[in-house]
């Protein structure tokens, strides 16, 4: 390799690393169709695609799971839109600050515990009516434009929920299996219990995302495509068949009235002289 090409390779690797470093997250799973919007242009999402700060994630009839740099996970259900507003993840400096905006639909968030153990860290999910501040926990959040209201349901941990209306200072805390609603211009309702069946139902709907595309043992072998032939199914040694064909010919036609059973010794071994 010449010095120039070596330099070019290093440069390319450097660029690739820099590009990867800019990703705020990665599409981990897809079920159905979804899109990623960047600078106003939407492209079909694909497993492994990078998500950058400022991107808009949009699902149609599908679901999408994104794993962020801070190891937080957001699942978007059908017909939802979410904007990645800010992802600051600086373990060296101890700075953790993330904000995503749910413009419509429903999302499930699983937030890295670092947000609950680092002073000043903040992970927030904002809707047009509310903000859910999270510290190492998981929850459902839904914004319904028709009602202009946000529902927040806790799955685990403690979620701080407040209205976006600045004149209001009411904050409620939702814990596991509790829910609250924030209608535009109003304070969050007092948390109320939520059925575990409801949560399970919602989680089951995300099962395809949870499994993810981990590949297939079959596909890994290449047998499907015809590019691999397992040893037991390969052509055997040629020599055995000639005897078999010859034997079949004798057995099937050459001695039709003879013993149909190929028992050792033939008639002679069993019967002495054949016939009477």
């Amino acid at each position: 390799m010449t010095r120039f090409s070596l330099f070019a390779l290093v440069a390319c690797l450097g660029l690739a690393t820099a590009a990867a470093a800019q990703d705020a997250g990665t599409v981990a799973s897809l079920h159905g169709t979804a899109e990623i919007g960047h600078d106003g242009t939407f492209v079909a999402a694909a497993v492994g695609a990078g998500v950058q700060v400022g991107d808009t994630l949009r699902t149609g009839d599908g679901q999408m799971r994104v794993v962020f740099r801070d190891d937080s996970v957001v699942d978007l259900t059908e017909h939802s839109t979410l904007v990645v507003d800010k992802v600051v993840f600086d373990p060296a400096g101890g700075h953790y600050n993330s904000l995503v905006k749910l413009l419509a639909g429903k999302a499930r968030a699983l937030v890295n515990e670092v947000y609950g153990t680092t002073p000043g860290a903040a992970y927030e999910v904002e809707t047009p009516t509310a903000v859910a501040g999270v510290r190492g926990t998981s929850f459902w959040i839904l914004y319904d434009p028709a009602r202009d209201a946000t529902d927040v349901i806790g799955i685990q941990g403690r979620i701080q929920v407040r209205s976006l209306a600045e004149r209001l200072n009411n904050t409620v805390y939702v814990t596991a299996a509790q829910g609250t609603t924030v209608v535009r211009g109003m304070s969050p309702t007092a948390p109320e219990p939520v059925s575990i069946d409801y949560l399970r139902y919602e989680d089951d709907a995300l099962q395809p995302l949870a499994l993810g595309n981990v590949g297939s043992l079959a596909a890994a072998t290449g047998v499907h495509s015809g590019n691999t032939v397992p040893a037991p199914d390969r052509a055997p040694s040629a020599a055995g068949l000639a005897g078999q064909l010859g034997r079949d010919e004798l057995r099937n036609t050459g001695d039709v009235a003879g013993q149909p059973l190929d028992v050792v010794g033939g008639d002679r071994g069993r019967l002495g002289i054949p016939g009477k």
């Binding site: 990665t26 981990a28 799973s29 497993v47 492994g48 794993v67 996970v73 890295n112 515990e113 319904d144 529902d151 685990q156 596991a176 829910g179 059925s195 575990i196 069946d197 499994l211 993810g212 595309n213 981990v214 297939s216 043992l217 079959a218 890994a220 072998t221 499907h224 495509s225 015809g226 032939v229 037991p232 390969r234 052509a235 055997p236 040694s237 040629a238 020599a239 055995g240 005897g243 010859g246 099937n252 036609t253 050459g254 039709v256 009235a257 149909p260 059973l261 190929d262 028992v263 050792v264 010794g265 033939g266 002679r268 071994g269 069993r270 019967l271 002495g272 002289i273 016939g275 009477k276």
Partner: protein, 518 residues
């Protein structure tokens, strides 16, 4: 949403904390998998499993990762755990079934693949691997059905399933079908590994068809409960009533020196030797040259076989036998085939006493074979007539003695040839023959008067024999050791019931042998 959600009551505790963490790790592992970093994925999933040993999802994910990393046993363990935690888990069942097939645990794989097969998105792959498992279990009909199903659901599997159709047909010894399938694979995917392998199969079939030689050799150990040289107690002591072990050697070869289009001429030679352990007077040797002319039409084959047998008892000449054997075999597509034949034999004994059996023996018959699903599963029924014409060229007394062994017979048979699991070919048959002897047979005991055969027709009844035979055989090739090697175990039972006491006897033979075929 709010009302619906909030009005429901809290019924039980939420999933454990670790489950959320394990899911997070699982999600990160999926990212690592899709980035091609399977080792990192496994490390994450190891942590996930440690955090929540009851999370079926992460066991499934780790199982696939371990399988892709070549850890077959680890993959099977994880996938089994996943299904133990969540009994209805079709995607895990599919991977477990696939992993078990890969580990050659075919019977274990079946129930998992059957579960996956019920899910439309998994049906094609599950059917394909189910077919592979059943092929390896020698359940060829089921395997073919599943390959066809896989192809129907997912046409992208056409090439692979056609290849396996060829393998199934080859294993069933249906070489015409195998050729068609392999040629299609070559046409559809000429650069694939399967096309290359299909070419190997085609070459073997073609080369074997053109082969002009074949040979075999068999050695066997047998136990005979009633050693004798034939069913007639014509010479004192020729039916011993004693059991004995013997070694049997049978070897031969076949050569096709001439082929003219659909016609062929074959010559063969076969050697037989039995060596009794105790009753060495009954050591028998046979030398059998034969020649056969055959012509094949599209659905009919005709042939004429000529054969000569020269038997020696120990080292003394015992019997010369000439056989003419015209036959016709008619193939009925989808049903089986029918064989018609006429076996004509002339026997000339070389030792005193046995010459009463000299003469012509005629056995015309028909046998119908029914294919039960494939060519290796056959039911057959047969009917045969028997008529003897003794040599009457001697003195009146010799003529009378010979006539005592003249008979007319009818034989019925039914049998089954069945491909069993583990490459075992099983055969079973039952035969019944009724023999009606001539007037001269009246003089046999209990009416041994000297002139009973002519002068005193009321002296006794004619001889009537009912002969029952049962045959069971299991044969298996041993490709694990050698492609040419076979082992054979068999049982042969004869139960002859006669109204003449000298001719009632039973005989049972057990045999175990090893055969080599080229």
């Amino acid at each position: 949403m709010r009302r619906a959600a909030l009005l429901l009551l809290l019924l039980s505790a939420l999933p454990a904390h670790a489950s959320e963490e394990s899911q997070g790790l699982g999600a990160r592992a999926v990212v690592a998998i899709n980035a091609g970093d399977l080792a990192q994925a496994q490390a994450l999933l190891d942590r996930a499993v440690g955090l929540d040993p009851k999370d079926a999802d992460v066991y499934y994910q780790r199982g696939v990762v371990r399988g892709r990393l070549g850890d077959s046993r680890g993959a099977i363990d994880d996938l089994q755990t996943a299904i133990k935690l969540r009994p209805y888990f079709p995607v895990a069942a599919l991977e477990l079934g696939t992993a078990l097939v890969d580990a050659e645990r075919f019977a274990e794989a079946e129930p998992y693949l059957l579960q996956a097969q019920q899910v439309p998105t998994l049906e094609a792959q599950a059917s394909f691997y189910l077919g592979v498992a059943q092929l390896r279990l020698d359940r060829f009909a089921s395997a073919s059905d599943n390959f066809a199903r896989a192809r129907r659901v997912d046409p992208s599997l056409t090439l692979a399933t056609q290849y396996y159709d060829g393998v199934v047909a080859y294993r069933e010894q249906d070489y015409a079908t195998a050729e068609t399938a392999f040629k299609q694979v070559q046409a559809d995917g000429p650069t694939t590994a399967m096309a290359h392998e299909a070419g190997q199969y085609l070459e073997i079939i073609d080369r074997s068809r053109r082969a002009t030689y074949s040979a075999f050799g068999t050695v066997a150990l047998e136990y005979d409960s009633n050693v004798n040289l034939g069913t007639n107690n014509i010479v004192q002591g020729s039916v011993t009533g004693k059991g004995d072990w013997r070694a049997v050697l049978n070897a031969g070869g076949r050569y096709v020196p001439l082929r003219w289009g659909r016609a062929s001429l074959a010559v063969s030679y076969e050697f037989f030797q039995s060596l009794q352990f105790q009753l060495t007077d009954f050591n028998l040797m046979d030398n059998r040259p034969s020649v056969q002319l055959q012509y094949d039409f599209d659905h009919i084959s005709i042939g004429m076989l000529g054969r000569y047998d020269y038997y020696l008892l120990q080292t003394s000449s015992f019997l010369q036998e000439a056989t003419a054997f015209p036959w016709v075999s008619v193939r009925e597509d989808g049903i089986g085939h029918t064989d018609f034949y006429y076996r004509m034999q002339f026997r000339h004994y070389q030792q005193p006493g046995y010459t009463n059996l000299d003469g012509f023996y005629n056995f015309p018959g028909v046998r119908q074979f029914f294919e039960l699903g494939n060519s290796k599963r056959l039911l057959f029924i047969g009917y045969q007539l028997g008529a003897t014409a003794p040599d009457l060229s001697g003195t009146p007394e010799q003529e009378a003695n010979n006539q005592a062994y003249m008979y007319f017979a009818q034989e019925f048979e039914i049998g089954l040839q069945w491909a069993l699991p583990y490459l075992i070919q099983g055969d079973a048959a039952y035969r019944y023959e009724y023999q009606a002897y001539q007037n001269a047979s009246r003089c046999f005991a209990p009416n041994p008067e000297a002139n009973c055969m002519f002068s005193d027709p009321t002296a006794g009844a004619r001889r009537r024999d009912s002969d029952y035979r049962v045959i069971l055989s299991l044969e298996r090739p041993i490709p694990e050791l050698w492609d040419h090697l076979y082992v054979i175990a068999s049982y042969f039972g004869t139960f002859n019931d006669s109204n003449k006491q000298d001719f009632t006897y039973n005989r049972q033979i057990g045999s175990f042998g090893v055969s080599v075929r080229y």
